[in-house]
Subunit: 478 residues, 2 copies
């Protein structure tokens, strides 16, 4: 039997009478301008960047404070209406899609940077703050917020917290979770909690911040986020290293890391992805079969030059054909906009795209790349691989013609995830499980671990109304 | 009313018949050599480094596998006998003390390093591995495990996981939690779970690793730990900077950080602590009123020299009287053994010592130090402050004559913690709540957050038999 792909699935919806009651109640706890149900808005909030389907909410609300978020949650719980939080809807796993309709709770109006402290190296922000706006604001005062999801120019901090967003710089600096020290958190039943701390260190009580970050909007939402920052590195150097094949490039990435060099990014672009993006923001040299973007940072320029030289030598010994070092900020930005543009450029190659973000132990990077290539050839599917090769986190995309190829695509996904898990890898390195990968989580986690998480979800949300049908496979089927 | 200090408290114990049944059952699931109840062993397992009392267990068991740990937990649950895990009993908050007696579950025999992967930058260890042994083993192959609790020469990795141990290097490298990527975990009811991952990145499901690390032996124990490592920095430089007063030193620490320098340690020793430790491992210069140990590391020597010079200039501008740079490994080790010896040396000054490990936002370090001094003077108590000033985590010790000063000491602790919390700080930066700080957690966390955590504990351990009377204040009294 061929399972339906995520975008083909349907879920039970809320009855009209119940929705009408919800509309009335929500306009009472919020102001009328904070509740929408027009068709345009419903369509706008029906999709994200996961390509995993169109699921319009019935109502969309725009709370402006923790108290309003709490009131919305309590209203939905009282009326038995499902509700799903969302930010910029830039997620890659469908975490913000209101699968059963009901109420979409947009945090976008809570978009103030409340404070930045140069002395404490901390910032306090609301969930609707755009990640790039935070980056710029802290860099302006000499601080640095390292996590840089691909969508940093438009994604929001609340979404980053929900998904525990990563990005290229995770290689050296870790992911969102490593920078969140405190949260104001609204639980699924509408309780407002202060968890975590304002200090760099602290171990008072259970690590509820750890539990909530990455809970993908199923255990509540952040209404205020306290972040720790680091001093902004004084120098950054970026090199583009060209290889004639992706396998050679992957081996070089492994060798650079094994030599003890820790760049802030080691991004890989394979032949398919390179052809898709070539000539848009950036022209790759003729004959390029794969490219690696290596970026180092630090406070001492000589140190960076030494690191860059060492990495460059290793790459050349392993078959790099060319190393280009960005000479100024403009060249750096061109390189990065090419890298950021890959996801979008791949859409131009085929009508449909399914993106998996697998991660394997670092030493297995060349092997997984080789196996993905072979699988694509065998199944007759276009496979494009790119991403954060330095930490083993690859975005493997299956490009295809349309729904008639469903069985083939489903086979490819299963094989890809099976080989990943067999290598000690994970089915999601940074995008989350959400809707898109829900049916595959049982390939990685045991029934006991899945059951514990389902029970934890029920512990926080007994009626299961917050962001339903997400993360954990339907126990009736798995 | 004056509350009893932790070491004076008593708790209900298990009836002899039930213990006899437990002894019989445990010798059946383990071998006879793995179960002890002789007086010597009971005394040996009755205390830790928290100075918070003597609580002998009735039985001590030494499981050698996850399956045996599970069998012990299931036996204790079935018979209604409290059980408390322990490692090297080097904890500073009484987390491993069997307050109600019952069974002490020592993980010390599970002490193998199972694997170290240079290619993946990971290691897999059992909980009884001594932290220092792990450090040495990974450094021998060019890798680095940064967390360095003061007791690293004898504490165990399982204990570090339970307490989310910190240490001087946390300033640059973070704490235990930042290096744990996967756990084999035995729940309070004896279920064996594999949580987390073997890859550097991964966001599949809730962050159960995050929830379990730092749960202080109340939500289960780790029977296997997968760690991520980093390449070993090629160079380390250590400087001792002398000040005539602790307040001047604290201001210098803040200024170094505000200038964008991020050393791997910035340790502070105040006048009382300095006098206590002077002349033992190390002779401080005459007239020294306070000392800062500043250590930098990295791969490029010139970079470190530049950082050290910058930090040194800032300190001198702010009143440092002398800067001594360790010229070799022997000198470095002397400095550090002086720092490590402070806790023990303070015991020689007065018969009793209560150590709090408060943390405040970085900018408040000078202020809290000044206030602690003033409080000591006002109450007529000796207060010694030292620790990880760089991240705001200070070990503030109250030294006193004996139980007759109970009321005064209790007043001092409450005032100290109140001023800490008022400054946005936490009552425990790295030692944990355990038994020693249980009664004070309500000063920092709201009733709702405490209640949520109590409910989480009950979710995992419905009968409340694993490590009872820990972390959360008794709801009947708070």
């Amino acid at each position: 039997m061929t399972a339906p792909l995520p975008f083909e699935k349907t879920f039970p919806r809320v009855e009209p009478e119940r929705l009408e009651r919800a509309f009335t109640a929500l306009t009472e706890v919020l102001s009328p301008g904070q509740v929408r149900r027009d068709e345009d808005t419903r369509q706008q909030y029906s999709r994200d960047e996961s390509d995993s389907g169109v699921f319009p909410p019935d109502l969309i609300v725009f709370p402006e404070s923790a108290e309003q978020v709490s009131a919305v949650f309590k209203t939905c719980q009282a009326l038995g209406v499902p509700f799903t939080p969302c930010g910029a809807r830039s997620g890659k796993s469908g975490g913000s899609l209101p699968l059963r309709g009901g109420v979409a709770v947009s945090l976008e109006r809570m978009n103030r940077i409340r404070s930045i402290s140069v002395e404490d190296l901390t910032a306090v922000v609301e969930p609707g703050v755009i990640t790039g706006d935070l980056m710029k604001a802290v860099e302006a005062v000499g601080l640095f917020y390292p996590p840089d999801p691909n969508s940093w120019q438009f994604c929001t901090m609340g979404g980053n917290i929900a998904e525990n967003a990563g990005g290229p710089r995770a290689l050296k600096y870790g992911v969102t979770r490593d920078y969140v020290i405190g949260l104001e958190w609204v639980t699924p039943t509408g309780e407002i909690l202060q968890v975590g701390r304002r200090t760099i260190k602290g171990v008072a009580g259970y690590d509820l911040v750890g539990l909530f970050v990455g809970s993908e909007g199923t255990l509540g939402v952040a209404t205020e986020i306290t972040l720790q920052l680091i001093p902004k590195p004084k120098h950054v150097m970026t090199a583009l290293i060209i290889f004639d094949s992706v396998l050679t490039a992957a081996r070089a990435v492994s060798a650079v890391l094994a030599a003890g060099v820790l760049p802030r990014t080691l991004e890989l672009i394979d032949d398919v992805a390179l052809r898709a993006v070539d000539g848009k923001a950036f022209h790759f040299p003729a004959g390029a079969g794969s490219a690696v973007i290596l970026e180092v940072d630090g406070n001492v320029e000589e140190g960076l030059l030494a690191e860059l030289a060492q990495a460059g030598e290793i790459c050349e010994r392993l078959g790099a054909t060319q190393t280009l070092v960005a000479q100024n900020e403009e060249q750096r930005e061109k390189l990065w906009s090419a890298r950021r543009g890959v996801s979008t450029a791949l859409r131009t190659l085929k009508p449909y795209k399914l993106s998996e973000d697998i991660a394997v132990p670092r030493s297995r990077i060349p092997e997984i790349i080789e196996k993905l290539k072979a699988m694509g050839t065998e199944l007759g599917l276009m496979v494009a691989t790119y991403g954060h090769a330095g930490d083993g986190n690859l975005h493997a995309n299956i490009l295809y013609e349309g729904p008639h190829q469903r069985a083939l695509v489903e086979t490819a996904i299963r094989r890809m995830l099976e080989m990943t898990v067999q290598m000690g890898g994970t089915i999601t390195g940074e995008h989350g499980v959400g809707h898109a990968k829900r049916d595959y989580l049982a390939m990685e986690q045991s029934p006991a671990v899945l059951e514990l998480q389902r029970r934890l979800k029920t512990f926080f949300d007994p009626a299961g109304l917050l962001n339903p049908e997400k993360m954990f496979p339907d126990p009736k089927r798995f």
